[in-house]
Symmetry: C2
Subunit: 366 residues, 2 copies
């Protein structure tokens, strides 16, 4: 229950497939390649925005600080760009063919972050004040809208039939992203959320866009719909595994690694997987947890709760089995994802890299 | 200066081309056809949204009231759907070919209304409370996002090369719409806005989407890019004429016809065309107006201003020539729009209907 323990290794998720030091180094190189190839194109796209939206977007991406000085911000793990490039290679095309797809997916991802942070009232992201907090709500809405439009523009200006197919998949994923955020908001006001509802919401919020990232490069490389669908199956379940790990880190993650507060998701009263699984488990720990969370929802003093009070709730979630269930779920989704790759004919090296990336997602500590 | 006088007929904009009673009846029939053919498809598209976004969107479109009961709301003038259908016919295709284009353009238009109303803090639209006022800011953001995504979906699921071309044009127009809103917001904080800046902003906010409406049907009907560009030129200048008339109605329109308050745009301190033209004119009326508006900007008592105080500002705008300049500008833009049609080979009946629609836009009273 020490928040310093990496949540997933504790429970063995990913064991058996997770590689040793060399494989991990390869995956880090893949992530780095995605970042290196896509960032210049992403920056050129964002530069097309009219002032002041270009500056606001550059702040959001961490390329400049609040005062407009160049910054070397934390651009995130960059799993999506890495997947989009591998996706092109899975279809037998050069990685570079996937670049516009990588950029479009990143633009949609960041459109949703800008709007979600405003809707959720989140004041911090990646250790910095969020856009609405610095530049006001109108800029968060406008720049989000502009990035969403830009995503379609980057793809459609390729002018090919495959670009149209890729844009259609991105549009479908975007709609699911929006559906997921709508579900997330509606769940905040409900006392009980079922495990199934939580999984559906997380599939929309995280699975759909990872699925798109892993099909979009292939589609741009001329893959047929069946291949793209199978790749999306891998990406969707990888997204669910990713989110299950995120939910574990949101409670038991090491603040030094995650950059978030201790018990972060509990402080935000998030109905994440460990919580809903614990509440569905029955038994004395489950009942005490339900009683406490119901009281918390009405408490005016919640913000002043001590570390011990959050630690107590985390302990109840764990005692009710919510932590174990979520780690098992990460492993289950990881296995489904990897199995979906069997149905796609692709170069062996690409297959191994996609498996290694799935392993990385499950054992990561941030 | 009686706000009951229709602003444009006073100054003769559109005279010379505006038709008699029969032509007007034809135009009303064209608008009705656009509404009749596109609304069922629009409603089916909106029905795809997950709850509660479908309901919020239905409220926005005026199909249900606040309590969820069916309503027969004022869906607006429906100029864009009428243009999209004529656009298909201009390319020699049946009007029906333009329907997905009409629906996509309406979806983008309403995405921008939902977000703009929230950013601008506007509490009323078409005589009803706006979505953010009734359902909260998060729903206004989410449903706007969803309609934007849906617009691309409706086109791209056609699966043709021309659908990809149409979506690209819609995306370009959407970006201009967003640029225009960004300009509009930034101008609010500035003391002086030039006529040129105002025209550029209005071209982005109104011209770009009307331009797209008038090319999108043709593109779906297989028209080449040159034809589409020429049609867009008609639509863009029609949009500028439309907006000039809107700006006149925003000050001198009859509240019974427009559904807005008297001196509506003055109450909102809008830097619309008559205002910026008056401020650029020089002379005593211009100077007094500039002095008054500068004082108004700092006034805490602005909301309690009397009818007479607004009437005085309107009189100064007129005395400085802002009203006449704007009416002339509407006529200039109308003429450029109609002239652009000469360069497109299209059935004579369609050409006449596009001219009649342009005449209607310039002489309308609401």
């Amino acid at each position: 229950m020490n928040p310093g323990n990496p949540a997933v290794e504790n429970t063995g998720a990913g064991a058996g497939t997770a590689g040793g030091g060399t494989e991990k180094a390869d995956t880090l190189a893949l992530l780095e390649r995605g970042r290196t190839l896509s960032t210049p194109v992403l920056r050129a796209a964002v530069d097309r925005l009219a002032a002041p939206m270009d500056t606001v977007a550059a702040y959001h991406f961490g390329w400049i600080d609040v005062d407009g000085n160049p910054a070397d911000g934390d651009g995130g793990k960059a799993v999506r760009p890495a997947l989009a490039l591998l996706s092109a290679e899975a279809a037998g095309a050069p990685a570079e063919v996937g670049i516009p797809g990588a950029v479009a997916v990143e633009l949609v991802h960041n459109f949703s972050l800008l709007h979600d942070d405003l809707m959720d009232g989140d004041e911090q992201r990646r250790h910095r004040d969020t856009v609405w907090k610095v530049h006001g709500p109108a800029q968060a809405i406008l720049v989000g809208d502009a990035l969403f439009a830009l995503a379609n523009e980057v793809l459609l200006e390729l002018g090919t039939v495959d670009a149209g197919r890729a844009t259609r998949r991105l549009t479908t994923a975007s709609r699911k992203l929006i559906d997921g955020q709508a579900q997330d908001i509606s769940y905040e006001h409900r006392e009980r959320v079922s495990v199934q509802e939580c999984l559906e919401m997380e599939g929309n919020k995280t699975g759909a866009l990872l699925a798109c990232a892993v099909s979009i490069g292939a589609v741009l490389g001329g893959a047929d719909d069946r291949t793209a669908d199978k790749l999306e199956e891998y990406g969707y379940h990888l997204g669910l595994a990713f989110q299950a790990v995120d939910d574990l880190l949101g409670i038991w993650g090491d603040p030094e690694s995650t950059g978030k507060q201790t018990w972060s998701d509990l402080r935000q009263r998030k109905k994440s997987l460990p919580v809903v699984a614990a509440l569905a488990a029955g038994g004395p720990a489950c009942e005490e947890l339900a009683r406490l969370l119901a009281a918390d929802a009405k408490s005016n003093d919640f913000e002043n709760f001590s570390e011990e009070e959050f630690a107590h709730r985390a302990a109840l979630i764990e005692a009710a089995g919510g932590r174990q269930w979520t780690a098992d779920e990460a492993r289950r989704q990881h296995a489904i994802a990897v199995r979906a790759l069997d149905d796609v004919d692709m170069p062996q090296r690409v297959r191994e890299q996609l498996v290694a990336l799935a392993d990385f997602v499950v054992v990561r500590k941030r």
